[in-house]
Symmetry: D2
Subunit: 360 residues, 4 copies
C-alpha cells in the first residue's frame, strides 16, 4: 500500500512537534508538508525551530526529530494546497483554525487538536475506541457545508482520559453524574505563553481558563448517541474543577461517579479491564494494547510512572472505591497522557481509524 | 499575669519544631520542658537536632529557633513529670501517644496533634472558631476516666481547612453532601520517613494511607452537635480522595457541596466573608484576623501565595461557583496551611481558648 | 524632611512590581509616577496588571501591592516628564533603556536595572557597600554628556552576590583568579518569556544567554579602582558557567578563588564576617544589618532558607574550604536574593546612597 | 553459551532494584540469587518490596520488574553461598560491604557499587572504556588476600561522568588541573533516608557528605597508571563542590580544566567525539554506541533530555568553551546518568568486561 501523504499545519508549535514525532516511521502516513505562520515560511524546519534571540533549538519532545524532517522546508499555512495531501493534521490555535481548517476541509479530511469546531452540531468529537459511530455524521457535515473533506477534532486532553474511563461504566451500569477534579500537567498549556516556572514551583494553580466548560460539554457529546442524523448529548451531569500542578506530562483526575445500576468495586474493575473499545479488531498502528489499564497498588496511578504505558495511549485507572455521597457512587483516580493520547498521537490514531473506515 | 508553663513532647520532630516556633515570644505561654525519645534525652536541644551521620542541624521551620531554646536540655518523654507544667503539647506519633498522653492527662490538659484519641466518644476534636462548645464534653472525659487533666486533639490537617470552610455553609444553608479532592503538600507527611523527592518530583501520589477515613469521620464529628452530654455526628455525607503534590506547605482542596437551602454564589461568598467563628471576641493571641479570606481572582487561592495569610491561620477560599451535579450544589477551592493552622499553631490557638475558657 | 518623588518606569513588569513593593512605606521615597508601555498607558495600575485573556491579576511578588498604588494611573513611559520627579527608577528591558534612560538622565538621576549603560566608561556600576567611590565618575558623565541628571545601573543579579563576597577577600588578601558556577533561580529570567515550567521541571538548563559575559566583565569593573577620573578594571581573571535550576528565588554560586596572600579558612571567615562595607555608617533604610552572613552548618546556605535574611539584602556564605587547585585557593558557596538585593531593592538602596551622598 | 549465574546482594534497595532491571533479558547473565537483610529473608521479592505500613510496592525504577523476579525468594545476604554463582553484584551500603564482600570474594568475583574497597591499593576502580588495564592488579589482590575471587568496585556516580570526559583530554593534551561543581540528582541519595521533598523543593542543597573527597580521590586513581604491579595516581589536581538539585535522575557537572598542551574548542570537541575507549572492539552488550556524545546546542546537555541517551550509558558533553583563568583552560558541562552508567548498569558493563577478558 502506498503511504498516505499528510500535512502538519502549525508544525513548529509544541503540538505540531508532537505530530512530527507521532508520524516518524508511521506505516501508513508520510509527512509531506510542514506548515506554520508566515514568520517560519521558507525556512527549513530546523531553522524555524530556532529561538531568534538565543539560537537554541526550541524542541519540546523527548524523542528527537529525524534529520530529513529537520531539513524539510516550512510552508506558509495559509498557502498550503490541500489537494496534494490525503490528510491534514491541524495543530494551530483555535483563533487560527476558524479560518484555516474550513479551507482545507473543502478538499480533504482535517484532523484537528483545536477546539474551534468541536461544538458544531455536524462535527463529531471522536475518540477511537469510544464513539467511532459518531463518524457517521461526517456525511451530514459534507453535505451541509458542501465540502469534499471534513473536520474531525479530537477532544480536549482532559476530557480524553475522563471519557475513556467513563465509557465502560456507562455501557455496563448506566451513568448519571460525574464530579471530577483534575491535576493537570504543565505541558498541556503549550509553549506560548505556557506555564511559567515562576508560577508553578512549590504551587498549585486552581484555574485553567475555559477548561472546565470544555471538559463538561465534550464529555456529554462524546458519550452521547448518534441517531437520526444527529448526536444527542448523553443524559448525564458533569461538574469539574481543573487545576494545574508541577508535573511535566500526564493529567491526573480524581473522579466521583454515580451509576444507574449499582456496581461493586470488583464489577467496576472488571468493566474497566474488559473494555475493548470499538477499534479492538481494526489493527490500527497507534492503538494501545489495552484502552484501560487497572492498577491494584493503591499508590498508583502516578503520572510519572504511568503516563507512558502503551506509548502514552492507555488510560490508567486505580484507587477504585465505593463512594457514599452519590447514589450508586464509585470513585477512582486516572492518569492519561495529555500530549500523547490527549493530543497528536490521539489525532493520528483517529486518522488511522478514518482511513480504515473509508472516510479518509 | 504569670505565664503558663508548657511542655512540648516530641520536641525534636517536625511538628515539635513547629511548636517551638509557635511558642517563641508567646504572651501567655512559656516553654519550660522539651521532651523526646530516649535517644535525645540528656542532650541539649541543638545537639538532639543534629544528624548523627552528617552533623547537620535538622531544623525544618523557616523561622530560626531562639538561642535559649537550643540550649535547653531535652528530657525523656516517658519521664516527664506533668505536675510542674500547666499545659502539655503532644507532637508524638499515634502509637506513642496511646500510652503517653493518658499519663500526662491524669494531671494536666494535653493538647495533641496525634490522632489516637480523636475518635473516642468523650474526646472532642476542637477547632477554635468552629466548635468550642464541644469542649463541654471535657467534664465527662474527666469524670469517666478519673483524670484531673484531659486530652483535646486537634483534627487532621486536611480536615481543618475543609471544616472551617463548611461551617458557614452549614450555619447559613444547611449541609447535606461534601465531595472533596485534596492536593496536599509534602510537609504534611513529616520527616520520618516523609515524602522522598525521588517519589514526588514530576509526579502526583494519589494515595495517603488512612487520610481519607480521617477527614471523613472528623468532619462529621466536628460539625456535629454537643447535646445531652455527647457529641452527635452531623447528618451529612462526606467523600474524599486525598493526593500528594509537589508543594512544600499548604493543602489545596477542591470542594463540591450540597446544601439544604439553595444558595447563590454571592450568598456563599457572603457566608464565607461574614464568618466570625465562636472565638471572635476572645482576643486569643494566635487567632487570625479573619477565619476565612475570600479571593475574587479566579487564579487564587494558590498555596504558595495564600498559605501564609494571617500567619498561616486563615482558610483562603476562591473559585466559588455553582455546581450542577449535586442538589443545590456549590463548588470552590480552598488553601489551608497544614503545618500552621493545621498543626502546631492550631494547637496553640486551642490551648489559648482552653485557658481563656477556664479549662486549662 | 519631605519625601523625594520617584517614578518607576516599566512598572508593570516583574522588576517593576518589585520596585513597587520595595518602595511601599519607604521613609525617604514616595512613588508618584508609574509608567509602562503604550498598551498600559491610561489604565489604572491594577487594570494594567490584568491578563487580557483571562482577567487574572499578573502580580509576581509575595507581598501584596497597596490599594492606592493599584489605583494610580499608568503613564506612557515615553511621555513621562522627569522634571517633576527627584529620582527615576528604570526597570525596562535593555533595548528600551537605550533611548529612554538618556531622556530622563538629561534632567534627573536614573537608577536602572538594565544592562544598557553598564559598560560605558563614564558610567559606574554601583553596589553600595562595595564601590561607592566609583560614584565620583558621575561628574564626568554629566559633563561629558551634558546631562543635569545621570544614569547609574546596578549590576547583573548574579554578579551582585559574587562581587560582595569577593570584596573582603580582595581587601584582605588580594584577588587573582575567580572560577564560579551559578545555579540561578527562575525569577531571574523575568516574565516575558521567562522560564517555562515545561523546560525546568526535573531539569537543569546549562546556559543563560549573555549571562557569563556580564558577570565576568561587571566583576572586573566593580572591583576596579576609581582613579584619575576613570575606573580601572581590577587586575583579576574571572571565568564562570551560569546555569538555571528549579528554584523560585535566590541564586546559588559555587566559587573557587585564588588570592595573592594565602589565607586560612578561619581568616577567610573572619574577612567575610568583619566586612562592613562603605555604607556602614550611613543609616540607609534598605541596608542589611550585615553585608555578609557566614553559615557554619555545612548544609547551608540554601536558597529557600537563606535568601530572605535581612529582607533579602545580605549575601550568605558557607562551605568555606581550602582549594588545592588554584594557588592560595579558597572555595565557598554563596546565596544571594536575585530579585531583592540583586534587583529592585538593591536599586532602591543605591538611590538611598546617592541621596545621602548628595548625588540625587 | 550457557548464561553465567549472578546474584544481587542488597536486592531490595534502590541500587539493587536497578540491578534487577539492568539484568532483565541480559544475554550473558541470569539472576539466580536475590539477597537482602534478615528482615526480607524468606519472603518473595515482591513481598520484600512492600512497605509494611502501607502495603505499597516500593519500586523505584521506571521499568517494571519481571513477574518471575517478583516471585523469587529473597535470601539472607549473610547466608548466601557464593560457590553456586559466577558473579556477585553487591549493592549494599559501605558499612555492610566491609564484612560481606570479602566473604564472597574468597570464592567469586564481586562487582560492587559500595565505596568500601575503592581506596585499597590492590583494588582497581574500573570504568570500562577508561582504565581496563587497571584490572591487571586483580592478580595482586588475589594473591595478597588469598582469594579465588576478587572485589572490583565501580566509582562514585559523580566521578564516573567526570572521569569519562577527562580521559580524552588527558590522552590528547595532558591534564593538570580540574575544578568541578556538580548539580546532582536526588536519586543518587538512594531511598534510606534519601532526599526529602521537604528539603529540596524550591531549593539547592550545597553539601553531600563525603562526596567531594570521593570524587577527588577516585578521579586521580582511575586516571592513574598501572605499572610495576601498582596503580599510580595521575599527576593532577582536582577540586570540587558537590550540590544537590531538584532533578530526579542525571548528574550535571560544570567542569573547568587545565591541559598541558593548549587545545582549541574544536580540538577538544574532536577529542570528545573521537573517544572510543578501550572496550570499543569487545561487543559488550551494555556498552553505549558512543562513550561521549557532544551537543552543539548551547542549551544542552540537560539532565531530563540527555540522561537516557544510549540507555543512560553515555556521557553527554556540551558548552565547550575556552577558560581564561586556568592555563590552557577549557570549560564544559556534562550530564551523566547516575543510576545507569553511574550505578547498576555500569556495574553490569564492568562484569561484562571482566567476563570477556577472562577475569570472571
Amino acid at each position: 500500500m502506498e503511504k498516505r501523504r499528510v500535512g502538519v499545519i502549525g508544525a513548529t508549535g509544541i503540538v505540531g512537534q508532537q505530530f512530527i514525532v507521532a508520524l516518524q516511521g508511521h506505516p501508513w502516513f508520510e509527512t509531506s508538508c510542514l506548515a506554520a505562520s508566515e514568520k517560519s515560511a521558507g525556512k527549513s524546519y530546523s531553522e524555524a525551530l530556532r529561538d531568534e534571540k538565543t539560537g537554541a533549538l526550541r524542541w519540546y519532545c523527548e524523542e528527537e526529530p529525524d534529520e530529513e524532517v529537520l531539513e524539510m522546508k516550512v510552508e506558509n499555512s495559509s498557502g498550503v494546497d490541500a489537494s496534494r495531501l490525503d490528510v491534514v493534521f491541524s495543530a494551530v490555535e483555535a483563533e487560527i483554525a476558524v479560518n484555516l481548517e474550513p479551507k482545507f476541509a473543502k478538499q480533504k479530511p482535517v484532523v484537528s487538536t483545536a477546539s474551534t469546531f468541536r461544538y458544531e452540531p455536524d462535527v463529531p468529537i471522536l475518540i477511537p475506541g469510544v464513539n467511532c459511530d459518531h463518524a457517521k455524521i461526517i456525511e451530514n457535515q459534507r453535505k451541509r457545508r458542501g465540502w469534499r473533506g471534513f473536520v474531525t477534532p479530537i477532544p480536549n486532553c482532559t476530557a480524553t482520559g475522563l471519557v475513556i474511563s467513563l465509557k465502560p461504566l456507562q455501557e455496563n451500569f448506566g451513568l448519571r453524574q460525574v464530579i471530577m477534579t483534575s491535576m493537570q500537567s504543565v505541558s498541556g498549556a503549550g509553549r506560548s505563553p505556557g506555564v511559567l516556572s515562576l508560577d508553578i514551583v512549590d504551587n498549585v494553580i486552581p484555574y485553567i481558563p475555559k477548561e472546565e466548560e470544555k471538559v463538561q460539554s465534550e464529555t456529554l457529546k462524546i458519550l452521547g448517541k448518534y441517531q437520526g442524523g444527529r448526536i444527542e448529548n448523553a443524559d448525564l451531569k458533569v461538574s469539574c474543577t481543573c487545576t494545574r500542578v508541577n508535573v511535566k506530562d500526564g493529567h491526573t483526575e480524581a473522579v466521583f461517579a454515580s451509576t444507574e445500576k449499582n456496581c461493586s468495586v470488583e464489577e467496576a474493575k472488571d468493566a474497566f479491564r474488559n473494555f475493548k473499545g470499538d477499534i479492538s479488531n481494526l489493527d490500527l498502528p497507534s492503538a494501545p494494547e489495552k484502552m484501560i489499564v487497572v492498577r491494584e497498588d493503591p499508590f498508583r496511578p502516578q503520572p510519572r510512572l504511568d503516563r507512558d504505558i502503551y506509548d502514552g495511549m492507555a488510560t490508567v485507572v486505580g484507587r477504585i472505591r465505593k463512594d457514599n455521597v452519590l447514589e450508586n457512587g464509585i470513585k477512582y483516580v486516572l492518569v492519561s497522557h495529555n500530549t500523547k493520547m490527549g493530543a497528536a498521537r490521539g489525532a493520528v490514531l483517529l486518522a488511522e481509524y478514518l482511513a480504515k473506515a473509508g472516510y479518509a
